[in-house]
């Protein structure tokens, strides 16, 4: 049986930072498995930047201000001890990335350049033009090559085996050979990203953002924390949902309705377009709902106007954004406003992390970092520029945490994981041979439709109940799914079957968490409970999965410094 001291699942920003931190100890055998090559990971899609209170552009900025902005942005649901830990360590992490070779844009003094971002009281978002995630991802990959990190390329996580509350191992499919392997490990760092694909095409997320690690943890008994908090990015391209970076608003872009009015004046008179994402998304949807958008129905949109920035600034600061608008919407932002509409962007919730310093979960040996994890530093709404920051910082601490565990634990028996692998081998075999049934894509599309219509930007009880029923039915249909591909070699149809199974489990948790949170907070906006209710809901949702049953619990929020107050921008 394959065995490692530490297995990192996922090779995006969090996974590679974890691998780098873990492999600093030459005595430990570390492997990174990922269903795609590291540089294909979704970290690369992050455009606008990474937050750190360096004070390069605004000397009055401070870690304290970053802390306060993040807590306020989270609508007071973030755990403040974790946020303080995060914001206070970000400046040194930027220097570390610079030393790794990340090509940051620079100010006239040669220091890392910073720009304003939504919900931030100072311009603290460090960037590299509008491809910040891309250059960080590639730089981390270079460092992994330098360090000789072992990658298991195109291996797909199937499940985690847990025995008596401790990790026994992981089961993964080597996609090329079709072999299913049990892997013994002392520690596993889950860094598999978000699951925005529960909305299938109505998301900025890559096609593979299906929450595989999150679902595996959920099945293994780790609760999902705050899954109902889904961030809708205000500026997705109208026709495809592809992301137009927050840097557009950061650099001074205007949002216009069909009357040509900068409608943000109604919703965030002070911050205007630089309000936080939840607020701006709701503002856009309200404009559309009240008839001030362009077009109708699913095709309705508002405009983002960047023309006044001028050609030179657009080419210097937003070159990728311009190319995206040209290729995918047929609009040159130098000449015309671009049609935009909110698109599912980010999951604030995820795998329940119990110790932010090590990223441990309730199960000994399993750690989580990045979008798949919920520490929680984003609470009910994440600020732009805090995601790549979260990924690299907690990726690093998860790697250090895994090292600690690997030093303490001996290699588990591997009995349970062997059995688990046998079960998967049978499933793979059965699904390859099955010739009739419901196409996986049909189940997936129905899930996305009900989630978008009923658990989207504005929510109400009756609709969410309908979504829960539909997802329940789809989970039954899934038992009769058919993949239509008999190949052992590189069977992507089987991979997608497992992915859709993961999405269904997670979609149900999102709907359930949302239904029971009878208040509006951050990204969770209920038409039937339009106010925040700190008396009843200043707490984290925890959803446990026991077989097919979902069990709902709550946990208090850690408040160290900032008492909840009304959130105005």
């Amino acid at each position: 049986m394959l065995s490692y001291d530490i297995v990192v699942v996922g090779a995006g920003g969090a996974g590679m930072m974890a691998a780098l931190a873990a492999s600093e100890d030459p005595d430990l055998e570390v492997a990174v498995l990922s269903k795609i090559y590291p540089t294909r990971s979704h970290t690369g899609a992050a455009q606008g930047g990474i937050n750190a209170a360096l004070g390069n552009r605004d000397p009055s900025d401070s870690v304290e201000k970053h802390f306060r902005d993040t807590v306020k942005g989270s609508d007071f649901l973030a755990d403040q001890d974790a946020v303080e830990f995060f914001t206070s360590r970000m400046p040194e992490l930027i220097q570390e990335l610079d030393f790794y070779g990340v090509p940051f844009s620079r100010d006239e003094n040669g220091r890392v350049a910073q720009r304003p971002f939504g919900g931030a009281s100072s311009p603290r978002t460090c960037y590299s033009a509008d491809k910040t995630g891309h250059v960080i991802l590639h730089t981390l990959y270079e460092q992994c090559l330098k360090r000789g990190v072992k990658f298991l390329h195109e291996w797909f996580l199937l499940s985690l085996a847990v025995e008596e509350g401790e990790l026994d191992g992981l089961v993964a499919l080597d996609m090329r050979s079709g072999a299913i392997h049990p892997i013994q490990a002392k520690a596993a760092v889950i860094a598999t990203g978000g699951f925005g694909r529960i909305y299938w095409n109505r998301t900025t997320n890559a096609l593979n953002m299906t929450g595989d690690g999150t679902a595996a943890c959920f099945d293994a008994g780790i609760p999902l924390k705050d899954p109902e908090f889904v961030q809708f990015h205000p500026t997705g391209l109208a026709s495809s949902g592809i992301l137009m970076s927050e840097a557009c608003r950061g650099e001074g872009g205007h949002l216009l309705n069909k009357e040509g009015e900068r409608f943000m004046a109604r919703y965030a008179p002070e911050k205007m377009e630089l309000g936080p994402r939840d607020l701006v998304s709701r503002a856009i949807e309200t404009e559309i709902k009240e008839g001030r958008g362009f077009g109708e129905g699913i095709g309705a949109y508002v405009q983002m106007d960047l023309r006044h920035l001028g050609k030179e600034k657009i080419l210097e600061r937003l070159p990728q954004v311009r190319a995206l608008a040209m290729h995918f919407e047929g609009v040159d932002i130098i000449e015309e406003p671009v049609p935009i509409r909110p698109s599912c962007h980010y999951m604030m919730g995820g795998i329940h992390v119990v110790d932010y310093k090590t990223c441990r979960t309730p199960i000994e040996g399993i750690l989580a970092a990045g979008e798949c994890a919920c520490i929680s530093i984003h609470g009910a709404n994440r600020l732009g520029g805090n995601s790549v920051a979260d990924v690299v910082l907690f990726g690093k601490y998860a790697g250090l945490g895994a090292r600690e565990i690997a030093k303490q634990r001996s290699l588990p028996s591997g009995k349970k994981v062997k059995k688990e692998a046998d079960r998967w081998i049978k499933t793979f075999d059965r699904m390859r041979r099955k010739t009739e049934g419901i196409p996986v894509t049909e189940i997936r599309d129905k899930m996305a439709e009900t989630m978008w219509n009923n658990v989207g930007i504005f929510r109400r009880e009756s609709e969410m109940k309908e979504a829960l029923e539909t997802v329940g039915r789809l989970l039954e249909d899934y038992q009769d799914a058919c993949i239509g591909d008999t190949s052992v070699r590189y069977n992507l149809a089987f991979v997608h079957y497992v992915e859709v199974g993961n999405l269904l489990k997670l979609a149900k948790a999102v709907a359930l968490g949302a239904l029971h949170r009878k208040e509006s907070r951050g990204s969770h906006a209920r038409a039937d409970y339009p106010k925040r209710d700190d008396g009843r809901f200043l707490k984290h949702t925890l959803i446990y999965k026991k077989g097919d049953d979902y069990i709902l619990q709550y946990e208090p929020v850690k408040i160290t410094k900032y008492r909840p107050e009304e959130r105005k921008y």
Partner: protein, 317 residues
């Protein structure tokens, strides 16, 4: 036009075949849209890679009628117009081992990339807790080369690589060498350049296909020229490529034109050139070269020399 036919090269690990799929024509769609439609509506066994859908992850490059494209950002209408057809042939990238259908194996390429030490060798001006200072001008030098998404289109298009998989590095690998060689934070540009030189840097055919096809419009040929110049500045003059370049420089300086008879001797040395005598005889027989031709100075040679004088005064390439 009602339908579009995609003829796709299939491979299952054992056998290869071409399979045709007909799709109803829809205006304004991408190539990735068509591939997805086939997989989801016609044939779930069709295998290809894709992830981000917006040209940043580099997963979805394929060949269409022999030319490499990123499927997500390539408009189907443009392809139909360019190739003046309603029938397109799709194949996996050239110069890569194929795993299944349109999916290629990147592992050997990434292994090769290590040759140029594709990571920053940090100079003493920086440290892990303070980072570096870098001027905006110096940042601009690395802005374009760090756009590379490792999509493999340049490898697929590379003329030299098609002839010579072992003796040449893929353009994206040379781009990595360049990216670090020009980074003001790097302490040892020669450690990135020398391996490139040893792996056939001078063998580029100048076909420019990599530059034309790069979805990120990186000036790969210009970078190659820089790496060659830098290798000469490192003192690497005693190799065929550098000698060939010097022979050009000297011939043109003295006569304003090339001397094709002496060029091989200056490049390859006397012994190697002697080995080429049978080849030279064939060229003479066909009238391609004249061994007795001694080029005279061209008219306006003074002008040529003035250009040389001026060039010598210019410091930076």
């Amino acid at each position: 036009m009602d339908t579009v036919t995609l003829r796709i090269k299939r491979y299952d690990g054992v056998k290869e075949w071409y399979q045709e799929y007909q799709l109803p024509y829809e205006k304004g769609k991408t190539l990735l849209y068509s591939l997805t439609k086939i997989r989801e509506e016609l044939d779930p066994t069709l295998t290809f890679s894709a992830a981000c859908r917006h040209a940043i992850c580099g997963s979805c490059a394929v060949r269409v009628n022999g030319n490499a494209f990123l499927a997500c950002k390539t408009s189907l209408d443009q392809l139909l117009e360019t190739f003046e057809t309603e029938r397109l042939t799709l194949e996996p990238l050239n110069n890569f081992p194929v795993i299944r259908d349109l999916v290629v194996d990147w592992e050997p390429k990434l292994e090769r990339m290590k040759a140029v030490r594709p990571w920053l060798i940090p100079s003493e001006d920086g440290d892990p807790s303070e980072g570096f200072r870098q001027s905006p001008e110096d940042f601009r030098k690395i802005a374009s080369p760090t756009d590379c998404i490792l999509c493999g289109i340049c490898s697929s298009e590379c003329g030299q690589l098609s002839l010579n998989q072992e003796g040449y590095l893929d353009p994206f690998i040379l781009n990595k060498a360049y990216r670090f060689a020009v980074d003001s934070r790097d302490a040892a540009p020669e450690e990135h350049i020398r391996p490139a030189l040893e792996k056939g840097l001078w063998k580029c055919l100048h076909c420019m296909e990599c530059v034309t096809k790069c979805p990120k419009e990186i000036d790969l040929a210009g970078e190659n020229a820089y790496l060659r110049q830098a290798s000469i500045q490192m003192g690497e003059r005693d190799n065929k490529g550098a000698r060939h370049a010097y022979a050009f420089v000297e011939d043109v300086k003295s006569k304003g034109r090339l001397n094709e008879v002496t060029l091989p001797m200056k490049t390859e040395g006397f012994v190697s050139t002697m080995n080429r005598i049978p080849f030279a005889l064939r060229l003479i027989r066909k009238g391609k070269i004249n061994p007795l031709h001694m080029p005279r100075e061209v008219e306006g040679i003074e002008g040529v020399r003035k250009i040389y004088e001026h060039a010598q005064g210019v410091k930076e390439p």
